[in-house]
Symmetry: C2
Subunit: 261 residues, 2 copies
């Protein structure tokens, strides 16, 4: 049987992790990144078999994974559209918002918008982990072509992930609350943490605070375009949470003042 060829466009943490697992699954993995140093790191990390030129990747890959930041995904979809039909029978992206991707990819053959619910606060192929997607949800937006969607589900399952069909707008509304809001919260919390330091602080950090501090180390570069694309969902939740915290502060102050009189 002919060896499957997987092309990774964007060989960072997610792309590198996909490559590592695809290689373990027996695929030949080609990597391309607009940052010329990234594929070398991915080669060293064992995430890809070959660093190739972009055209070469599209000429040879059966499956293409666009694992760039959102801006990069949208630009890549535009390039695909302009270059004409691709050889691959499946092209997916892995960006954290889906409505803008689905909109951009309208009419692009064999494209399925997806989002693996995995990642860490770290970035770069040197942290790539073949187990990153194991038992994690990997959402996809049904394309309307059942055979194509079945290929996307099978691909996702080969990473140990659990495919979830979800409407793009619904996806963005939910992850705005479950992922984007906590990220902004973590940055705000992390900035306040600067007022506390020392050994006692480190030892008095609990489960939730340590989780928020971990997340606060996430790179803003990755998030910039995602948050901008999902502002309609994230902004109202931010304001609602700010109001709830102010109300909690008021209630705390009032109750305490009452109990003291």
């Amino acid at each position: 049987m002919k060896q499957r060829v997987v092309g990774i466009v964007g060989t960072g943490l997610i792309g590198g992790s996909i490559g590592k697992r695809a290689r373990r699954n027996g695929a030949l993995v080609l990597g391309y990144d607009r940052d010329v140093d990234a594929p070398r790191a991915a080669l060293e990390a064992g995430s890809i078999d070959e660093a190739v030129a972009r055209d070469d990747l599209y000429r040879r890959a059966d499956t293409v994974v666009i694992a760039a930041y959102l801006d990069g995904v949208l630009a890549e979809i535009e390039r695909i559209r302009n270059a004409g039909p691709v050889r691959a029978s499946l092209v997916i992206d892995v960006a954290s918002v889906k409505a803008s991707v689905v909109h951009a990819a309208e009419g692009v053959p064999n494209f399925v918008a997806t989002h693996p619910m995995a990642g860490t606060e770290r970035s770069g192929a040197r942290f790539a982990d073949a187990e990153l997607f194991e038992n994690r949800t990997w959402a996809y937006v049904p394309s309307g072509d059942e055979a194509l969607d079945a290929r996307a589900r099978a691909f996702v399952e080969s990473f140990g992930a659990i495919p979830l069909a979800v409407d793009a707008a619904e996806h963005d509304r939910i992850v705005g609350f479950t992922s984007h809001l906590p990220q902004i919260l973590a940055w705000a919390y992390g900035r306040r943490a600067a007022a506390y330091s020392g050994d006692a602080f480190d030892q008095l950090v609990g489960r939730t605070s340590s989780e928020l501090l971990r997340l606060s180390r996430s790179d803003f570069g990755f998030w910039r375009s995602v948050l901008a694309a999902n502002v309609a969902n994230v902004e109202p939740e931010l304001r609602a949470l700010a109001t709830a915290l102010t109300e909690a502060a008021d209630a705390l102050a009032t109750r305490t003042a009452e109990s003291e009189t």
Copy 2:
């Protein structure tokens, strides 16, 4: 060698977990709770050897652990003070704030204020876990009596915990940020989560959101007196975080509006 006798005042999750581990360590464990049904549950959970009357507990125990809510701890310290010197060579509490406890216990012999950084969103002796304190920080406020403090450290270490000496005011300032603030945040987040539900939501919950949702299920009864006692530290942090979230919402809206023009 005479068997050590540990008396637990308040046989809930923390008291029950302490009892379970103390029994495993070879102690005879006596339990008392103002809720008459609680010691029976602790007996069934294997957390205590005997359910006893309060006076009986103080007559027999070498070490007394006051594992009540903060209000209960303060009331218990007052009862000890009124009843005169206790037989036990070590009396500790495990409340989540320390300044008010230290203040209440001034002059009470053999008392050390402590706080194990452990617990779950659940309550009740039926969830008691002998491993709850393993490798967790167990803070204590030095009493000024080095021999007494050494007994407190040795007791804490027998639970697998790591003792941390910390000033009461500094403790409260830090846990206000690392524990009390995240708790209020989690409740606010949990209330907003009511607008989202269904299978897709459950599968798109990430690490931080699932941690916040777990914490949001914490019982407010436990927290009421703790938050009131630490309002001076918690209230300003709540307001600062609310401001930071509002600023983030403004920045997001402004940046997005700019990039659209």
